[in-house]
């Protein structure tokens, strides 16, 4: 396979899950073509891409706001009782669909559960699904993608075709089929499913980034000096190929949280007694005319969370992409 063919294929990277589609091999390339270390301050350590990016991010209000929102979400995921005293499973049917009142600022849902408490407790599940699924997708996807990109040839062809196979299955459909028979009421089946169908997105990007990084002179030099494959991959290529993966993963995180809600809406997401925004949104959606508040609050919380992660990803990408400076 000549290199010409790599370009379009690698550029199809990142579709279908609805994550950062705008990141193809171009940006991976551009990350590598960044200007060399600044020679003006010789005694300082050469400024790396990362310290550059960090300096940028600290000054970016979008980053600060989204990071604060995410920190807050992580905080209430770990200690929901810090801001609510009720229990999300305590429901009194006689209060069903009632509006807000002192002590219950968001009102009650169709079962008479306190919407505020459930919204607070729902953060934990959503954040857990988002973070763990993204971790899984990123690890699996970048390992497979890096292997394909690094070794090329037959292993690349085989791995790329396998990637295509998983890529070709419509996500929501796969979720319906796989999750409809799961009886577990933990978050793991949902996470496992997202990892199973989500990794190709990262894998393609990682592959493209590794292929570009591989051609750099310093990698060739290291190879000529007799560096082993694992050393080449881990020490020389990986640090330079990881940036696009991080960017896409951050944005994908938001979409995974929304995906959990969609699966719950279709009746195959998380199961009780789990408390999640997806469950609450889907159970409130038929009552949209009578009790819009029960739908609005969890939807709002979900939207803000997804927004925060996407904006974070956006900010990180801008910081890591010197072309846009």
């Amino acid at each position: 396979m000549s290199d010409r063919h790599e370009e379009p294929e690698a550029a199809i990277a990142g579709t279908s899950m609805g994550g950062a589609m705008d990141l193809g091999v171009d940006e991976a390339e551009s990350l590598e073509k960044r200007p060399g270390p600044d020679g003006a301050e010789p005694e300082e350590r050469p400024r790396s891409l990362w310290s550059d990016a960090w300096r940028d991010l600290r000054r970016n209000p979008v980053f600060i706001v989204s990071a604060l929102v995410i920190l807050f979400l992580v905080f209430i995921s770990l200690w929901p009782s810090a801001i609510t005293s009720g229990s999300p499973l305590k429901c009194d049917l006689s209060k069903a669909q009632e509006g807000s009142r002192p002590g219950h600022p968001f009102g009650f849902d169709g079962q008479g559960c306190d919407v505020y408490t459930r919204t607070v407790y729902g953060a934990r599940t959503s954040v857990a699904v988002g973070v763990l699924a993204t971790l899984g997708v990123a690890v699996l996807g970048s390992v497979l993608g890096a292997l394909a990109g690094f070794f090329g040839g037959i292993s690349d062809s085989v791995l790329s075709r396998i990637t295509d196979v998983f890529f070709a299955i419509p996500v929501v459909l796969g979720g319906l089929v796989l999750l409809s028979v799961i009886t577990s009421n933990t978050v793991w089946p949902v996470i496992g499913f997202i990892v199973l169908l989500g990794w190709p997105q990262i894998s393609r990007i990682a592959r493209g980034a590794v292929i570009t990084a591989k051609q750099n002179d310093y990698v060739q030099a290291a190879r000529a000096l007799g560096a082993s494959n694992s050393r080449l991959l881990l020490r020389h290529i990986a640090p330079n190929a990881v940036a696009p993966v991080i960017v896409v993963a951050t944005i994908a995180l938001g979409t995974y949280i929304a995906l959990e809600a969609t699966l719950s809406y279709l009746g195959v997401g998380l199961k009780p007694p789990s408390v999640s925004w997806g469950i609450d949104i889907s159970s409130a959606s038929p009552y949209i005319r009578n009790a819009p508040h029960a739908l609005l609050w969890p939807s709002g919380a979900l939207a803000i969370t997804v927004l925060a992660f996407i904006m974070l990803g956006d900010a990180v990408r801008d910081a890591l992409d010197p072309k846009l400076r």
């Binding site: 429901c91 049917l93 079962q111 009886t183 009780p272 159970s283 038929p286």
Partner: protein, 540 residues
């Protein structure tokens, strides 16, 4: 004459599609040519009478077929339809005489042979008919439908055509109310066209009812039109019905409000609060022969002990039926006080309050009973249900919350949704249930026998919990052999008391049928099977 009528229908249908204006010559009470549109669900199986076991397919069969008996749309009483008379001297051998003058809509005469052929088809293992067991009482069923291996006969030996309009039925045991079961769809007659060109028939069924199928796009829409030469008294009073498939009954209701649909026969629970506002008096809510219960896995030793009986009784008393039916269902369900249905009437065997205190909400006693019974097995219960259809999620959550509140333990009861109905049935068939599970029962025919025998008799087809009780079985056997109806009902009620004393299943509520309609319609009724009586609807 017929062709012009067809043309007129077509024009009407088009005009209706363009604007909801009325069509053709106007009477003041209703336009007999106008077509109404009604909500529908995609039938699961091919539309053969002996293959249709759910309400959506049943709706169509009810419009295009008439059997020997028909259940009165109001009282549910089985009345002769095509049967001139059904005679027996011993409750085991019956002689059926078919009325003269009936034809199928393709002109073929309805004869005794039409029935015998249809029943033989339905019973034969080769045809994979889901309702085959309805013919299980007829002699020779074992040969045409053996439990294992190849069938050794093609026709039921208990059916004999003795004249153009008469045939005899021999049963394997005494069954005094057998004639009353003959109103069920599975017993409908079939024309030769069904056997000669089966594929064509299934694409566009031909029957002997007040409507004929004009066109059928599977999974999407069926257009039925009035059959003008229909020989029965219950002629259609409208020009026809367009059944439209909806995946979600919320969308159907929304369409009704927007004026795109004339009739919704299942108002979603979530909209019940708005019905008065949206529709005013264009809404109906009547009792139907449906009861919801919670069944238990008696194959699980934890649920099959004397102590477990107390736990079941305790659970029953921990459920605030009234609050749930009032709040979740807006009074379209009635708290159950026995294991049958009010549509049977007092004479038919319905007994208000048979369950007594055990079906009353008494949280303190509930807690005490469950403690006496050794607590919930494993410290908690899960209520399993299928989440794909109906509004089951809402009520299961509410039942669990009620139990949790009564027991003062947030995690005592959890809802356990199963993604698909097929998987839910699989888990039941494979005996994988570990706690109570949803068991809804819609009657096939309005007899107390139908509410008890299929559900609680040892190894009966819908005895999902595999409950078995000798006393109950004996009483049912005696009741079936009893020729005097009142005495038979009395015996069934005694059997029902056995169910109560053991709390074989927790009765929850009787389900009503509900329907909402547009301003164009009048005289909308639901029969005891919660199916609209389409032929009586008037359209203006």
């Amino acid at each position: 004459m017929r062709t012009t009528r067809h043309a007129r229908w077509a024009v009407c249908a088009m005009a209706l599609a363009l604007a909801t204006a009325g069509c053709g010559g106007g009477g003041d009470s209703g336009d007999s040519e106008a077509v109404l549109s009604a909500s529908w669900g995609d039938p699961q199986n091919p539309l053969e009478p002996s293959n249709t076991n759910e309400v959506q397919g049943g709706k169509v069969l009810d419009m295009i077929f008439r059997g020997l008996k028909r259940y009165d749309p109001e009282t549910g009483e089985a009345q002769d339809m095509l049967a001139e008379k059904i005679e027996t001297s011993d409750s085991q051998n019956f002689t059926v005489t078919v009325k003269d003058g009936w034809t199928f809509s393709n002109g073929e005469k309805v004869t005794a042979q039409s029935f015998v052929d249809a029943w033989n088809y339905g019973a034969s293992l080769r045809n994979n008919q889901r309702n085959a067991y309805f013919f299980g009482y007829i002699e020779g069923y074992d040969q045409v439908h053996p439990e294992e291996g190849e069938q050794t006969a093609d026709t039921l030996s208990g059916l004999k055509v003795t004249g153009e309009r008469t045939f005899t039925v021999k049963l394997t045991q005494k069954f005094s109310t057998f004639p009353d079961t003959l109103g069920y769809n599975a017993f409908a007659p079939l024309p030769r066209a069904f056997f000669d060109d089966h594929d064509a028939w299934v694409k566009k069924p031909v029957g002997n009812g007040p409507y004929l199928v004009e066109s059928y796009t599977r999974g999407s829409q069926m257009s039925l039109r009035r059959w003008d030469d229909y020989p029965g008294d219950d002629k259609a009073e409208n020009g026809g019905v367009d059944l439209k498939v909806y995946t979600d009954n919320n969308t159907a209701y929304t369409d009704l409000l927007a004026g795109n649909l004339d009739l919704v026969d299942d108002v979603p629970a979530a909209q019940l609060k708005n019905v008065k506002n949206d529709l005013g008096d264009r809404y109906l809510n009547t009792p139907a022969g449906i009861i919801q219960t919670l069944a238990f896995p008696f194959y699980d030793p934890a649920w099959n002990t004397e102590d477990a009986k107390k736990v079941r009784q305790g659970l029953s008393m921990a459920i605030d039926r009234k609050q749930i039916t009032d709040t979740i269902f807006q009074k379209t369900r009635t708290p159950a006080t026995d294991w049958t249905s009010p549509v049977l009437g007092e004479d038919g065997g319905f007994q208000d309050g048979l369950c007594g205190d055990l079906c009353e909400f008494k949280p303190d006693e509930a807690k005490k009973l469950i403690e006496e019974g050794g607590g919930l097995p494993g410290g908690k219960v899960t209520i399993t249900f299928n989440a794909d259809t109906g509004s089951h999620r809402e009520w299961v959550n509410a039942v669990c919350n009620s139990i949790n509140n009564a027991l003062d333990n947030e995690r005592a009861c959890t809802a356990n949704p199963v993604g698909t109905f097929a998987d839910f049935r699989n888990q039941i068939t494979d005996r994988k249930m570990t706690g109570p599970f949803r068991a809804g029962w819609q009657m096939d025919y309005p007899l107390i026998q139908n509410f008890l025998q299929p559900l609680y008799y040892t190894n009966a087809s819908s005895n999902d919990g595999k409950w078995s009780n000798k006393q109950f079985d004996d009483l049912v056997n005696r009741a079936n052999q009893e020729t005097d109806t009142a005495k038979a009902v009395g015996l069934f009620q005694q059997a029902e008391e056995v169910v109560r004393d053991n709390m074989a299943a927790i009765p929850l509520w009787y389900q009503n049928g509900s329907a909402g309609w547009s301003e164009r319609l009048s005289n909308v009724k639901l029969n005891p099977f919660s199916v609209p009586v389409y032929n009586e609807i008037k359209v203006s």
